[in-house]
C-alpha cells in the first residue's frame, strides 16, 4: 500500500514538473517583450533593463526555471507583473491566487453539486425504465446538451432568466461572507450553465452502470424480499453503480477549468479563470505559472481523493488493497 502511494506521488511530481516546464517554455516563446508590456511602449531603457534583470530575461531559460522552482519549493511564487502597475502596488502571486480561489471554488463546487443533483435521479430512473419514454426523451435532450458549448448555454440562460424574466442579476460577484443571498443569486446562473454541460456525461455513465447492476442476482433477491422499487434502486443498486460516475467526475474536473474561464469572463467573476486569462494576455509569467501549477496540483489531489472514494464505496477494492 505504501509503495503504491509512493509510486503515485513520484509520478505526480514528474508530471507537475513537466507541466510547469512546458508553461515556462510556451510563455517564453510568446512574441513581444514583457518589459514593454508592463511598463508601456515608451518606457525608459534603464527601466526596461531593470525589469529584464528582475524577471531574469537576460538569462537562459533553464536558469530561470531552476530559480523559479527553487522559490516555489520555499512557497514563494513570485510577484505578479501587470501592465501599468507601479512597483509598490504589485501583489504576490500567492496573494492573487488566494483571493481568486474561493470564488472559483464556490463556482466549481456548486456546479458540481447541481450537476449531480440532476444527473443522479435522471440516470437512475432512465436505467430503471430503460427504453421507455423518459429514457428516450432524456437521451435526446442529452444529445443536444452535449453539442451545446457553455458559451451558448450561458447567454441563453442569461437571456431567459435575466433579460426576459428579470429574476437574476446579469454579472458581478458578491462574496459569500458579505451577503449570502446575493451571492447565491449571482452565482446560481453561471453554476447552472456549467452544470448543464456536465449532466449528460454523468447521467449517461450512471445509467449504463445501473443497467448492468439491475441485471444482477442480488437485485432480484432484494426485490424478492419485498422491498419497494425505490428502496431497491437507491439502497441496493446505486452504490455498486457509482464507479463510472466517480471516474467521470474526476475526468470532468479537467474540463471544468476551461468552462470556468469562460463563465468567469462572461459574468465578470474575479476568480482563477479570469485571472489566468488576464495574465496570459498580459504575459505575466509568474502568475500564469502559479495558476497553472495550482490547477494541476488541485487536479491531482482531487483524483487522489477519487481513488480513496473508490475504496469507501466498494469494500471489494478495500479488501484487495489491504490484502
Amino acid at each position: 500500500m505504501l509503495r503504491y502511494i509512493a509510486g503515485k506521488l513520484a509520478r505526480t511530481v514528474v508530471v507537475l514538473l513537466l507541466v510547469s516546464f512546458f508553461t515556462v517554455v510556451l510563455l517564453d516563446l510568446a512574441p513581444g517583450d514583457p518589459a514593454y508590456a508592463i511598463l508601456g511602449a515608451d518606457a525608459r531603457p534603464d527601466a526596461v533593463e531593470a525589469v529584464h534583470a528582475d524577471l531574469g530575461l537576460d538569462r537562459p531559460i533553464y536558469e530561470r526555471y531552476a530559480d523559479w522552482l527553487g522559490d516555489v519549493v520555499r512557497g514563494d511564487f513570485g510577484t505578479s507583473y501587470r501592465a501599468n502597475v507601479s512597483e509598490a502596488a504589485r501583489v504576490s502571486v500567492t496573494d492573487e491566487i488566494t483571493s481568486a480561489l474561493p470564488i472559483t471554488a464556490e463556482l466549481v463546487v456548486l456546479s458540481f453539486l447541481l450537476a449531480l443533483l440532476a444527473a443522479v435521479p435522471i440516470g437512475v430512473y432512465a436505467a430503471y425504465r430503460k427504453g421507455g419514454a423518459f429514457d428516450r426523451a432524456a437521451s435526446a435532450v442529452f444529445s443536444v446538451l452535449m453539442s451545446t458549448p457553455v458559451y451558448v448555454t450561458a447567454p441563453l440562460l442569461v437571456f431567459v432568466l435575466v433579460l426576459q424574466a428579470g429574476l437574476l442579476p446579469a454579472t458581478g460577484w458578491v462574496s459569500l461572507s458579505d451577503d449570502p443571498l446575493e451571492n447565491l443569486r449571482h452565482v446560481i446562473l453561471p453554476a447552472s450553465a456549467l452544470a448543464l454541460e456536465m449532466v449528460p456525461g454523468f447521467a449517461i455513465v450512471l445509467r449504463a452502470d445501473m443497467i448492468g447492476t439491475l441485471n444482477e442476482d442480488f437485485i432480484l433477491q432484494a426485490r424478492a424480499k419485498g422491498l419497494s422499487p425505490a428502496t431497491v434502486l437507491v439502497r441496493h443498486a446505486l452504490r455498486p453503480s457509482s464507479f463510472s460516475l466517480l471516474t467521470m467526475a474526476g475526468i470532468t474536473l479537467g474540463k471544468l477549468i476551461g468552462g470556468a474561464v469562460i463563465v468567469e469572463t462572461l459574468f465578470a467573476f474575479p476568480g482563477l479563470g479570469s485571472l489566468l486569462l488576464e495574465s496570459i494576455q498580459a504575459r505575466d509569467v509568474n502568475t500564469v505559472q502559479g495558476v497553472v501549477m495550482f490547477v494541476a496540483l488541485a487536479y491531482v489531489l482531487i483524483n487522489g481523493a477519487v481513488d480513496l472514494a473508490y475504496t469507501y464505496l466498494d469494500p471489494r477494492v478495500r479488501l484487495r488493497a489491504t490484502a
Binding site: 509520478r11 505526480t12 514528474v14 508530471v15 513537466l18 507541466v19 512546458f22 508553461t23 510556451l26 510568446a30 512574441p31 429514457d135 428516450r136 432524456a138 437521451s139 442529452f142 444529445s143 443536444v144 452535449m146 453539442s147 451545446t148 458549448p149 458559451y151 451558448v152 447567454p155 441563453l156 442569461v158 437571456f159 433579460l163 449528460p200 456525461g201 449517461i204 455513465v205 445509467r207 463510472s244 471516474t247 474526476g250 475526468i251 470532468t252 474536473l253 474540463k255 477549468i257 476551461g258 469562460i262 469572463t265 462572461l266 489566468l276 486569462l277 496570459i280 494576455q281 500564469v288 497553472v292 490547477v295 494541476a296 487536479y299 491531482v300 483524483n303 477519487v306 481513488d307 473508490y310
Partner: protein
C-alpha cells in the same frame, strides 16, 4: 476539447460520452443511450428506423452547411469584402425582404456572414483535425507496433500534455503566435494529437497480433512496410469515425478560443467569433448570438450523429467478420 486523463485512475473502462476519442478501445464512445435518438427504443426495428432518420437528417444538414460554404461565392449573398468591413455601428435591422436573416451590428448581412463563417470554421476544423489525425496516427501506429522504450517515452510525454487543462494549453499555444487562422489551426492540432495517438495505438496493439501481420512478417516485410501497408489501412475506417467526432469538438473549441480573444480575429467571420461579438447585443438583438449558435449546435450534433453511427457500423462489421 481533449480530455485530461487523471493519472492512475482506473478509467480504462470508462468512456466519456462527450469525448470524441474514447479510452484505449479505439472506438468512439457509443454508449447505449449516448445518443438516445439513435439507440434506445423498445423494438430493434423502431430503433433502427429512428436512427436512420436521424442520420439522414444529420447528413442533410451537413451537406447544406458544407455545400453553401464551398459555393459561397456563387450564391446570391453579399460578397465577402462587404461583410468584413468594420463600419460604424448601426442598429441591426431585422428581417428584410432582401436580407432574410437580418444584419448584424455593423449592417453586415447575417446570412452572408454565417455562410462565410461556416467556411472559416469548417476550414479550421478540417485542417486541424487532419493535421492532428495524421500526426497522431503516425505516432500511435509507431508506438503501438514498436512498443518498448519508444512507446514509454512518448507515452509519458503525451500524458504530460494531457495533464494540462485543455483550455490552458490552447490559450498558451494560441497566445504564442500572431492572432490569425494559422495559429488557431496549430493550437487545435496540438490539442488533438494525443487523442488520435491513443486510438491509433490501441487499434495497432490489437491488430499487431492478427494473422495477416504475422503473414507479412514471415514474408520478410520490414517494420515500416508492415506499419504502413498492413496496419494503417485497417485503421482508416475507425479513424474516419473518430475524425468526425473530433471535427465536432474542434468547431466548439474554435468558439472557445474566440471567446478568450484568441480566435479568428474580427472582422473575419467565424461562428465562434460571431457568437462572441453578439454577446453585447444580447438584450436588444438576441438573434445575433442565437443564429450562429443554432448553426453551431446543429452542425456539432450532426457530426456526432454521423460519427457515432459510423462507429457503430464499423463495430458491427468487426464483430461479424
Amino acid at each position: 476539447m481533449s480530455r485530461v486523463l487523471p493519472p492512475e485512475v482506473p478509467s480504462s473502462e470508462i468512456e466519456d460520452p462527450s469525448d470524441p476519442v474514447g479510452p484505449d478501445e479505439g472506438r468512439s464512445p457509443i454508449e447505449e443511450g449516448g445518443l438516445g435518438l439513435l439507440t434506445t427504443g423498445t423494438t430493434g426495428a423502431g430503433r433502427r428506423r429512428r436512427r436512420r432518420v436521424a442520420v439522414w437528417l444529420a447528413v442533410g444538414w451537413l451537406a447544406l452547411v458544407i455545400g453553401t460554404a464551398l459555393l459561397a461565392d456563387l450564391l446570391p449573398l453579399e460578397p465577402y469584402d462587404r461583410i468584413v468591413r468594420s463600419l460604424p455601428p448601426r442598429s441591426p435591422i431585422g428581417l428584410r425582404l432582401d436580407e432574410p436573416l437580418g444584419t448584424d451590428g455593423f449592417g453586415r448581412s447575417m446570412a452572408s456572414r454565417l455562410v462565410y463563417g461556416a467556411r472559416q470554421s469548417l476550414l479550421i476544423a478540417v485542417v486541424a483535425a487532419s493535421l492532428a489525425g495524421a500526426i497522431g496516427t503516425v505516432i500511435g501506429v509507431v508506438t503501438g507496433y514498436m512498443r518498448g522504450k519508444v512507446d514509454e517515452t512518448v507515452g509519458v510525454l503525451l500524458d504530460a500534455l494531457l495533464a494540462f487543462p485543455a483550455l490552458v494549453l490552447l490559450m498558451a499555444i494560441a497566445s504564442i503566435g500572431r492572432r490569425d487562422v494559422t495559429t488557431v489551426i496549430v493550437a487545435l492540432s496540438v490539442l488533438g494529437v494525443p487523442g488520435f495517438a491513443r486510438v491509433a495505438r490501441a487499434r495497432t496493439l490489437a491488430l499487431a497480433e492478427r494473422e495477416f501481420v504475422m503473414t507479412a512478417r514471415s514474408m520478410g516485410a520490414t517494420t515500416w512496410r508492415i506499419m504502413f501497408r498492413e496496419i494503417l489501412p485497417n485503421l482508416m475506417p475507425v479513424l474516419l469515425s473518430v475524425m468526425l467526432l473530433v471535427l465536432a469538438a474542434f468547431i466548439v473549441a474554435e468558439g472557445t478560443l474566440s471567446f478568450v480573444g484568441l480566435g479568428v480575429p474580427p472582422p473575419q467571420p467565424s461562428w465562434g467569433g460571431m457568437i462572441n461579438e453578439g454577446r453585447q447585443s444580447l438584450r436588444v438583438a438576441p438573434q445575433l448570438i442565437f443564429t450562429p449558435a443554432v448553426c453551431l449546435v446543429l452542425t456539432v450534433m450532426s457530426f456526432r450523429v454521423v460519427g457515432e453511427w459510423l462507429g457503430d457500423r464499423l463495430d458491427a462489421g468487426e464483430g461479424g467478420r
